[in-house]
């Protein structure tokens, strides 16, 4: 076990994969300097500029070139800096990478991991703060990973690199500095959630940074006599239906929490699925449908809070009463 930050955990996993397979390469802007969040620190020194590739400011071509690299035998990791800039490369991701294997009848595959950090990040305002995981979950051909902890960022990045098809890998910008124990060699399978806390009155489901909010809310709920189960999805496509629906069926109440805008967020998919399949009571907590503001009071309106989660859970959960 080693203590690592969320960014180090990813850098470590990537370094291991690059050592194990010469076909793994990384490309993006400013990677030589370690990436702007230090998530590539040391890699160009170890693997050279041919495999840790500094690129021109050409998001479309970073993504599109990665598709071509993948088709020709490499396993590229693309760095988009923030998901907002990946909006310059959506044709390449959605029309090219995601559909390639299908469109060409399985002649080729695109083993590609696209890292595009999401989330609010101190006063970064409307164009550097989005959480767009719901978009990618809607696109056939894409796997969508949303790690919340260093160990997951290590174990999931390995699994993403091994998937053989395009993976949208969404790290949260306010988690880079978080530290945690990481077990070397760990693999976290895609599609497997983690139950962080068992509970019987209400199920709290979340991912990425909102997991923290749910953990804190569960403590607060416990003091109020409400027993909350907390589930970290870790990947939203595929998502761990068995764990979530099983829990929701047991507790009879599900709250989905995410930092993304609530309207059309992936919480709607989870809530709708749970309502369809278990008939449980559901509630969502997400950001209002507003752009992120620069000034703190405005930015704070886009943050999901412990109080909101507690209120949502209490509105659903009748402590001790099970349907």
């Amino acid at each position: 076990m080693a203590l690592m930050s969320y960014s180090q955990a990813a850098a470590t996993a990537l370094a291991e994969a690059m050592r194990a397979d010469r076909n793994v390469v990384a490309l993006g802007e400013d990677l030589g300097r370690g990436g702007i969040f230090a998530q590539y620190r040391g890699l160009q020194q170890e693997f050279g500029a041919d495999r840790v590739i500094d690129t021109p400011i050409s998001e479309s071509t970073i993504m599109g070139a990665a598709v071509g690299m993948a088709l020709a035998g490499l396993r590229p990791v693309v760095e988009m800096r923030v998901v907002d800039f990946a909006l310059c490369a959506i044709d390449e991701l959605v029309n090219q990478a995601a559909k390639n294997r299908y469109m060409f009848g399985g002649q080729g595959r695109v083993p590609l991991v696209v890292r595009m950090p999401i989330g609010l990040w101190t006063a970064s305002a409307a164009q550097h703060s989005q959480s767009l995981e719901a978009w990618f979950a809607h696109i056939p051909g894409l796997t969508v990973v949303v790690p919340s902890a260093p160990a997951d960022n290590y174990g999931l990045l390995h699994s993403a690199l091994e998937s053989g098809d395009p993976v949208v890998y969404l790290e949260h910008k306010e988690l880079w500095g978080d530290e945690g124990e990481v077990e070397p060699g760990l693999r976290v399978p895609l599609g497997s959630a983690r139950v962080l806390r068992a509970g019987s009155d209400v199920t709290l489901v979340s991912w990425s940074k909102a997991v923290r909010t749910c953990v804190d809310a569960a403590s607060e709920l416990a003091s109020a006599g409400v027993s909350a189960e907390v589930i970290d999805l870790r990947t939203i496509w595929p998502w761990d239906r068995a764990t979530v629906l099983g829990s929701a069926a047991r507790t009879g109440a599900l709250v989905v929490v995410h930092e993304a805008v609530q309207v059309g967020g992936f919480g709607a998919e989870i809530a709708a699925s749970a309502a369809e399949e278990t008939g449980c009571r559901v509630k969502r907590v997400g950001a209002p449908r507003i752009p992120s503001g620069y000034s703190k009071p405005l930015e704070d309106e886009s943050r999901v809070t412990v109080a909101q989660v507690v209120a949502a859970a209490r509105s659903l959960a009748a402590p001790g009463v099970h349907p």
């Binding site: 990665a66 071509g68 088709l71 399978p189 599609g191």
Partner: protein
Amino acid sequence: MARIRAFENAAEIASQGGVQAWGLKTSAKPALVRGPLHLSTGQEAVAAGVCANLTRKDLLTSTHRGHGHTLAKGADVDRMMAELFGKATGSNRGKGGSMHIADFSVGMLGANGVVAAGMPIAVGAAQALKIRGQPEIVACFFGDGAVNRGPFLEALNWAVVYGLPVLFVCEDNRISATTPTGPMTGGAGAAARAESIGVPAVRVDGNDVEAVDAAAARLVAEVRAGSGPRLLHALTYRFKGHVSVDPGAYRDPAEVARALESDPLTIARDRLVARGVAADDIAAIDAAAAAEIDAAMAAAAAAPLPDPASAYTDIQNTGAGQWR
């Protein structure tokens, strides 16, 4: 060239009554080929002349108008025609159709439904070849309309920055769908833009297959030698409408008539005749092509449609087996 022409003509006939577009109603008669076809009739010399200089292991990216490139790269005609017919025996198992025609087994990495989208893919493939130390190169076809999309700039720049083995081929038929490209293009076009980015470029008569071949031979040799990317700007003409159902009525008939006079097949045939090749030998080439395509048509017509269950395969490995 004769094979491409025969393929395009046969496909065109098979598509009559297919896809509704251009404000036309769908015809009552069901078409053998349902989907849209972008025919390369009249542009055969570019595909043939360039691909004559490629090996089967070289890679190629194409456009929406990709039949000629695919055939010239050596793809199997039966599997191509079956793909247009949407059959299980098609190169893409019926999943892609004309606009996504591909044969990875001969290095043909696919037609593309998005203008210029093959360009970044081509440079990435070339970068993989270079990083992996392989001797092959990539040919990247695109139309004159594509030079006004951002990926043109980005991909050429990228190829220069990393010194990649790519031959860019601008297949310039002077039109983009229904719009003449000239007035939509600032400056002198593909070659001039390429030069400004540091990609040496050559212009050639794209209807003269020998000229295309000669120019491509020189550029391919340079690219293979590791000199970095090159661009071939080939001037040609689209004999048909933009897409199978488009009568192309927006073009001046006199222009079309003039263009038909420099049919690349006629030019090549006349030259062979002038060099003393027997008329019978030339006719035999045409006959062989016709026979090959007829057989492909028959096989495609007879082949089975894909099993609906195959709609759920070839998508992605999520490790979870969940698709809905």
